[in-house]
């Protein structure tokens, strides 16, 4: 396939007016982040994509984000620093994930990839059908691909057998995979039967300036345990429902502050009702990201009862606010914080109660380190700049690799994914390629306009277009790309 593209030569309309480093410091990448999960949805994947994109823009790369339309939020939007987000009109099927037919998203995605002169497609989250679609089409178009897996998955039940097979198909010819913890890497390597050499571990990060301690917010006549998580089964809320009465009966000065919403809220409400703990267990409901710190600093101890977790940003946020962290020993959690900053327990009520009581005793005797000292230690552990640097190295490596041409891709699929699934998806890959040829015949790549590169701290988005070429390009984009507005 000869449609392999390199960004540097084609950066025709990119801004060089105020000396963006795009052409100063050698070749930079044109990166396209794809995931079903992005703002206005909130969560770990969403903030990861946003923060990583911002740091990559800061480093002089061009970054755009593709997601599906969220309600009335559709078309193109710009975020801080000219980060362009495409909200594509694709049908949402389940849990904010789009439906997939392997084909229907190709025309739209091809259009975006070509107009934006994309060189690397970076898909996020194995639950996102759009991410897998984008990987598939990007490989057909001869683009380099990177995939980040944010979650853990078991092997035992039927649904995981099926999804793991799909992941095997999706990742068998992806250039590089990123996982957020070593446990997550082991999990992904097993699920997708990958060569571990092409899987990098790059942890998530936390913005330390958002999570600073403030001991004056604590009430010293009591000990407050803070829990901030979605109230769902996987977060171990049933365990929390057992811990609350056990500890509240023993320690009359113990208070719980619980932030988050979800179907398991009823469990906590029943416990509160039965043991008459209305004044000591406060359920705050759903919290906005900006309010999280305000809740965290009121507590002495941060409790996490998750049953499975790939990385767990919540405990880092808790420690960053200077709290003592108590957590279950599951998934990648033991890798996240040094032993002296976290108390790890087994996922049982008894073990968690024992761990919490040990911390309560230490808290009473005043033998715990001060919030400021904990914050100072955690502050530099996980930063987005570091994440961006390490991800950049992945892009460097990937850019030097070749994308498998169709014949070798088919052979890889059949050799790697078993005779049945491999043959089916090899057939789908051929159809995808034919569809691409048809689209190229209908609208050749050369006649597609190049989108204006507005990214960067002094990119076009801060200026008024003044050359004829730019006006033409900008109006062309406005004409054909739906609504356009800035945030």
């Amino acid at each position: 396939m000869g449609q392999r593209r390199r960004g540097a030569a084609l950066n025709a309309s990119s801004q060089t007016k105020c000396g963006t480093p795009a052409e100063v410091s050698g070749r930079k990448h044109n990166i396209c982040m794809v995931s079903d999960f992005f703002y206005p949805n909130m969560g770990g994947v969403e903030s990861h994509i946003y923060q990583l994109s911002q740091c990559l823009i800061e480093k002089g790369h061009k970054v755009i984000i593709i997601t599906h339309a969220y309600g009335r939020r559709k078309g193109i939007r710009y975020l801080t620093n000219g980060l362009k987000v495409y909200y594509l009109p694709l049908q949402v099927m389940y849990n904010q994930s789009t439906a997939t037919t392997c084909f229907h998203s190709l025309p739209l995605l091809r259009c975006v990839f070509i107009r934006e002169r994309i060189t690397v497609v970076h898909a996020h989250s194995s639950f996102s059908a759009m991410a897998h679609d984008a990987l598939f089409h990007a490989k057909t178009m001869g683009l380099n691909t990177v995939f980040t897996d944010h979650s853990l998955f078991g092997f035992a039940d039927v649904s995981s057998v099926l999804t793991n097979k799909l992941l095997t198909v999706s990742l068998c010819d992806t250039n590089h995979i990123v996982c957020v913890s070593y446990t997550s890497k082991e999990n992904t390597v097993l699920r997708a039967t990958l060569n571990p050499e092409i899987v990098s571990v790059i942890p998530n990060a936390v913005d330390p300036t958002d999570f600073t301690p403030d001991p004056s917010q604590r009430q010293d006549d009591r000990i407050t345990i803070v829990v901030i998580s979605r109230l769902v089964y996987r977060k171990g809320i049933d365990l929390l429902g057992g811990i609350i009465p056990e500890l509240c009966l023993k320690h009359p000065d113990l208070h719980f502050l619980i932030g988050g919403e979800g179907p398991k809220r009823i469990v906590l409400e029943e416990v509160r009702e039965k043991y008459q703990l209305h004044d000591r267990v406060r359920l705050l409901g759903a919290l906005e990201h900006k309010d999280v710190r305000g809740v965290l600093v009121q507590g002495h101890i941060f409790l996490n009862t998750s049953l499975t977790e790939a990385f767990c940003m919540a405990i880092v946020e808790g420690a960053s606010c200077g709290l003592q962290v108590v957590s279950t020993r599951v998934g990648g959690i033991p890798e996240v914080l040094p032993e002296d900053l976290i108390t790890l327990c087994e996922p049982t009520v008894r073990s968690l109660c024992a761990g919490l009581e040990a911390v309560i005793v230490r808290q009473r005797s005043g033998s715990v380190p001060s919030p400021a000292s904990i914050h100072a230690r955690v502050r530099n552990l996980y930063t987005w700049r570091n994440v961006a640097e390490r991800t950049e190295k992945v892009y460097e490596r990937v850019a030097g690799e070749e994308v498998l041409p169709l014949d070798r891709r088919l052979r890889r699929l059949r050799a790697h994914c078993g005779p049945v699934a491999g043959s089916i998806f090899a057939f789908v890959a051929v159809l995808d390629f034919l569809f691409l040829l048809l689209l190229q015949w209908l609208v050749p790549d050369q006649v597609m306009d190049v989108a204006v590169d507005a990214t960067g701290p002094c990119g076009l988005w801060t200026q008024t277009p003044n050359s004829k070429e730019e006006i033409h390009a900008a109006s062309a984009m406005r004409g054909s790309s739906g609504t356009q507005s800035s945030l």
Binding site: L152, F153, G154, F155, A156, H176, S181, Y182, T183, S184, E186, N187, V189, L190, P196, E197, I198, V199, S200, V201, I202, P203, R234, G236, D238, L239, G241, G242, P245, V267, E270, V271, K274, L307, T308, F311, T328, V330, G331, G332, P334, E335, V336, L337, P338, P347, T348, V349, L381, Y382, E389, R390, E392, K393, V394, E396, R397
Partner: protein, 294 residues
């Protein structure tokens, strides 16, 4: 550290993220996957033990055959409803006695059901069935006979599929409902109202009470359990053979494959089992947490 950076000096790698280590991000240590555990807590099956358990499935299949045989006899007028009622009554009383003997062996802490309560429910059920049997008789008159047979077959199959073989004591409601639905369908094609009543009482005996008794035998007298199962299977095949030899051969083949062939397959395929566990598995809550709420 990006992928493929130069590995540092002889520092040993640690599985932690909070420490910047002199290894590339895609570094694969020798300890990679060391926490992987295979086939944890797997059960090793022994062939004859599995065959014995599969006997329960076989006898349930035979029970359905026996019921159909009885219905065939009734339909052809070879068996009078009075005869069936008396036999049912006697075998019901015998079974009830046996059940009482088996129950009396266990020291249960909870209050057992009294005989009076048992008599009460038996009376209620029998009188209602007797009273409604003329209605049940004409219930499916407007439905064609083929449809009734097809429906009965499907329902009996559903009964067999959904029967809770592992723990039949609190009986699965779907399986018993399917069986009774099939019995009503079949009974409504019999010549008289008394026939319908006899058939339904018999269905109650075969599909509702017999599994209870058999479960008690399995718990209390496991040595006799196999004998009972084999006996039921022989009666089933023999009874069906007297009406339709072809059906009897099919039933015998089905019984053979369910009780002998399938266990063999299970034991053979067991060695291909490859189940992996590791730190990424979702933790399971084994405690009973409902005590905190209720």
């Amino acid at each position: 550290m990006g992928p493929d950076s130069v590995p540092g000096p002889a520092v040993s790698w640690r599985k932690v993220l909070w420490e910047r280590q002199p290894f590339p991000d895609n570094y694969v240590d020798q300890r990679f996957l060391e926490e992987l555990r295979r086939n944890e807590g797997i059960r090793q099956y022994r062939y004859w033990a599995v065959v014995k358990e599969a006997g329960f499935v076989g006898q349930q299949l035979s029970c359905v055959a026996i019921f159909i045989t009885l219905w065939l006899y009734m339909e052809q007028g070879l068996l009078s409803p009075e005869m069936l009622l008396w036999t049912s009554l006697i075998s019901g009383l015998l079974g009830y006695g046996l059940h009482q003997v088996l129950i009396s062996q266990e020291e249960s802490s909870c209050e057992p059901r009294t005989r009076l309560a048992d008599l009460q429910s038996a009376t209620i059920f029998l009188s209602f069935t007797f009273g409604f049997s003329p209605v049940l008789k004409t219930l499916t008159e407007s439905v064609s006979t083929d449809t009734v047979y097809a429906m009965s077959a499907v329902m009996l199959l559903a009964h067999l599929v959904s029967f809770p073989y592992a723990q039949p004591s609190p009986r699965g409601s779907l399986s018993i409902n399917a069986a009774l639905f099939a019995s009503v369908c079949l009974a409504s094609r019999l010549p008289g109202a008394l026939h319908t009543f006899a058939m339904l009482s018999c269905a109650l005996l075969v599909f509702a009470l017999w599994p209870c008794l058999l479960q008690k035998i399995r718990e209390k007298a496991p040595s006799h359990f196999t004998g009972v199962c084999v006996g039921v299977c022989i009666i089933g095949v023999g009874g069906l053979g007297s009406q339709s030899p072809g059906g009897a051969i099919l039933l015998a083949l089905a019984l053979g494959s369910v009780t002998l062939l399938c266990p063999l397959l299970l034991v053979r395929l067991q060695r291909h089992k490859d189940n992996i566990h590791g730190p990424w598995d979702e933790a399971e809550i084994h405690e009973d947490l409902s005590r905190f709420i209720h």
